[in-house]
Amino acid sequence: MNFVVPDFYPAAAEIFVAVMALVIMLASTFARPIARGLAYTLTQLTLIAAAFITIFTMQGEVVYTFNNLFVGDLMGDFLKLLIYFSMAAALVYGRGYLNDRNIDKPEYYLLALLMTLGMMVMVTANHMLPMYLGLEMMSLALYAMVAFDRESVRSTEAAMKYFVLGSFASGLLLYGMSMVYGATGSLEFSGIAQSIHNQAANETVLVFGLVFLVSGICFKLGVVPFHMWVPDVYQGAPTAVTMVIAAAPKLAAFALAVRLLIWALFDLAEQWQTMLMLVAVASIVLGNLAAIAQQNIKRMLAYSGISHMGFVLLGLLAGVVEGDRHFALNAYSSAMFYAVSYVLMSLASFGMVILLSRAGFEAENIDDFKGLNKRSPWFAAMMMFVMFSMAGIPFFVGFFAKLSVLQAVVAANYFWLAVVAVVMSVIGAFYYLRVVKVMYFDAPVDTSPLKAAPAEVRVLLSANGLAIAALGIAPQALMSLCAYALLASL
């Protein structure tokens, strides 16, 4: 057997992050006294360095390596950069929070880095196996992070729930993969696509496999009917971890959807579109309705996240109209733009929760935001930006995200979908407005000044809020980046 040395160059960032994870593990074992600061600093430096490596190894065309297990393309690179960014931001937000609760341990950063690596593998996989490995790496690290506050019963319960349901979803995904393999004889995405295109695959087995794959993707995105874990995990996990779950994994799940559904199973688009349609409508309806009833802001944001992911699916399903692929790029890039905007908004919203929390106090009820305008007009305005942006009101980025997805849906002639989405958005606006209401219209209950949060959290949160407004005024750059990144990969 010939052994060919693979081309390591496209995977330089993954290799670097993997090595650094080991370095941090060893360093924090041997340098116990300074381990916490060291692990944090090294993790952040690793993420920054990985970003540089990704930028420098970026190539215009699609490259395959490791026997076609690995693919390097612009979409992957772009998503990886966003993943570094959102992980780094979540770590900055979360550090003070973890410190206040005595769970600021080096292992946390190690897990975060392993999770990042898992997501990187997911977005660059060109084959079912690395895709699954990446997914499991991400998920296992996340389960441990959710349970990180081990004294807390709720965190442990959330982690258990997440683990059981997550393993179940992984099982579904694996089962689906095995069926697709059985039908097409290939685990590589292009091979699968080729086999389906040549009509060499057993249709029945294939469609069964598709159902399982879609279920797995839906679980990872956290959409109805695979959403049960979302509110409990969001609420139970320490807020710093909730923020991690709510941001980067959505991007990885988006990549999962693109690679599996569009790369491998594009010829089955008619089938998976119908499934996604049901799922998207159910998510938008249930997410928005259930969010209204929540008193806990983390739970509310969890349900709102479900409905936002429904919008991402709307973008994904509007790509092919009666066999016409003309709209594909437009629709998929709108979904990507939506996912990226959501990550920004979600980071900022949980950042606000962290800002208001302090040692021994979790600002997790909506009422804890009461009178924020009196306590800090600046951060009240930031939270207002986030809320209006999530509600899809201009001039904030959420408006353009909704506009581009709705545009794709209307272009695909799914008017009824657009109407459902819009009507539910109005209902959704109610709970966002309620947060603005408690901040601006109610008198503060807690009048202590917001001094607890460290300076970097305040700076980052301000930058995050302003970015939401700035992207709402000038969305073009991000929109065309998304379109450009996808264009190369379609």
Partner: protein, 493 residues
């Protein structure tokens, strides 16, 4: 024409000025915030004056156009321009902003900077609505203007303000999101253009026309507001602070009516013609039924709010008869209503600041203590009732004449408003101002001070001036209205 972008200035001077006012911070700097806000409001009005002086009434084309690309991905442009229909509203809006800033001078003592900033930013956004020629730009301003008004009602409003603010927001949002789908549909049908002027030329079959028309009808009908989606307005008016009510009545209600002229009539003319009888019916219900509803109100602000709905019913009635008198009369009515309803709310505000009650029953004999005020209030009440010589008469009279041309019985029904309107306004005036002083608090009232005198005087001059010599207003809109009617008469099928 000069190259100075007056429309951009009209939009961005108040918005950026508003942000500066916001930067003055806490209430320690309240005097500074007030002075700065006044300066910004005056500057904002000053930059709109060239729009009138430089306006060419001879053409129906868009003037003072500005065009630059905004989001090329969806071909969204920053495209501004005004014609005879919209230019007056930009001026009216900038003018009312000054009045509102002055009116809130002493009354507002809490979060002064934020209050003033909200009004200034809203003023800029509403100028944007009136001058946008791009569908998305219009929509963006249309929705963004909800935010400041929501905060104004919710933060500085009355006891039931939360309910009113949220109701206001959700009603309008619902309508405008349906409009968004219509805009996206037109974007698709026009082959990828969001330009409103392009849409005027897009041919459409009758069924999509009707659907688009209905989407616009809901969006603008809620905003006008038309019966039966008017219920948010009395709540919003009653709970809003005086300044909020003034802006709401004088400007915000005009946005919906303006939308009919800019979108519904020219883009889907056949559907508009076909569905006109229904819109006319709704308008007549607003005029007659809401007029009677106004009659039984015991709260002054609610009474004026219902009277606003009735007056706006007149406006939509005028639009959908498709004749020059009707549309021009409706436009004049809109501007006049801006002055008159604004003034009515300010008068009620003057009373409320002293007595902290809006109940008609709490008053009586105000004239004995406040003769100057009673005189102004008299004038505005007469204008609200449509007395000849005041601005309220001109528009109503033109619409009724237009209606006679269209159908005598519709004109007859509409004309009853002149009786009902006089009844509810003057009866309210009588109960508040005349009679014996029964409430001891009324006996302690002080007449209006110099500041209040000033803004009421300015509005009184506007009401009288427009009533006696409406020509400058009608002249500006003539060419554009003719062009609009020509356009509506051509089928797009």
């Amino acid at each position: 024409m000069t190259d100075i972008p007056f429309l951009s200035l009209a939009i961005w001077v108040p918005i950026i000025g508003g942000l500066l006012v916001l930067a003055t911070g806490s209430d320690r700097n309240a005097p500074l915030a007030r002075m700065l806000a006044l300066a910004v409001a005056i500057a904002g009005f000053a930059v709109t004056i060239p729009l009138y002086t430089g306006f060419d009434p001879g053409t129906s084309a868009m003037q003072f156009q500005e065009l630059s690309s905004w989001v090329p991905r969806f071909n969204i442009n920053y495209h501004l321009g005004v014609d005879g229909i919209s230019v007056l509203f930009v001026l009216l809006n900038a003018f009312i902003t000054i009045i509102v800033v002055v009116a809130g001078w002493q009354v507002i003592q809490d979060k002064v900077g934020q209050y003033m900033a909200a009004f200034l930013i809203m003023s800029g956004l509403m100028n944007g609505i009136f001058s946008a020629l791009d569908g998305v730009l219009f929509y963006v301003f249309f929705e963004a203007s909800l935010i400041p008004l929501y905060l104004i009602i919710g933060v500085w409003g009355g006891p039931n303000r939360v309910y009113a603010a949220i109701k206001f927001f959700l009603y309008t949002l619902f309508g405008s999101l349906l409009m968004l789908i219509a805009l996206l549909y037109l974007f698709m049908e026009s082959g990828g253009s969001f330009s409103i002027l392009d849409w005027h030329q897009v041919p459409l079959a009758i069924q999509p026309q009707i659907l688009v028309f209905l989407a616009f009808l809901i969006a603008f009908g809620v905003k006008v507001p038309m019966w039966p989606v008017h219920t948010w307005l009395p709540d919003a008016h009653v709970e809003a602070p005086t300044g909020g009510s003034v802006v709401l009545a004088a400007i915000a209600l005009k946005l919906g009516a303006y939308g009919f002229l800019r979108f519904s009539l020219p883009i889907v003319p056949d559907a508009a013609q076909q569905l006109a009888p229904y819109v006319i019916a709704l308008s007549l219900i607003a005029v007659i039924y809401i007029g009677f509803v106004a009659l039984v109100q015991t709260d002054m602000k609610k009474l004026v709010a219902y009277s606003s709905i009735a007056h706006m019913g007149f406006v939509t009635l005028g639009f959908f008869m498709f004749n020059t008198l009707g549309i021009e009369g409706a436009l004049i009515q809109m501007i006049s209503h801006g002055f008159v309803s604004g003034a009515m709310f300010l008068c009620i505000g003057v009373l409320y600041d002293r007595m902290h009650s809006r109940e008609i029953a709490d008053y009586g004999g105000v004239v004995h203590r406040m003769p100057k005020f009673a005189t102004f209030f008299m004038l505005f009440a007469m204008a609200n009732a449509g007395l000849p010589g005041t601005s309220g008469f001109v528009g109503e009279f033109m619409v009724v004449l237009g209606a006679v041309e269209y159908n005598f019985w519709i004109a007859f029904a509409a004309a009853t408003t002149i009786i009902v309107g006089a009844a509810y306004t003057l009866w309210m005036y009588k109960r508040v101002v005349f009679g014996k002083v029964t409430n001891p608090h009324v006996a302690e009232l002080e007449d209006i001070n110099g500041r209040e005198f000033a803004f009421l005087l300015v509005l009184a001059l506007c009401v009288l001036g427009m009533g006696l010599y409406p020509f400058p207003f009608a002249e500006v809109m003539h060419a554009s209205v003719d062009e609009l009617l020509r356009h509506v008469a051509v089928s797009k099928l």
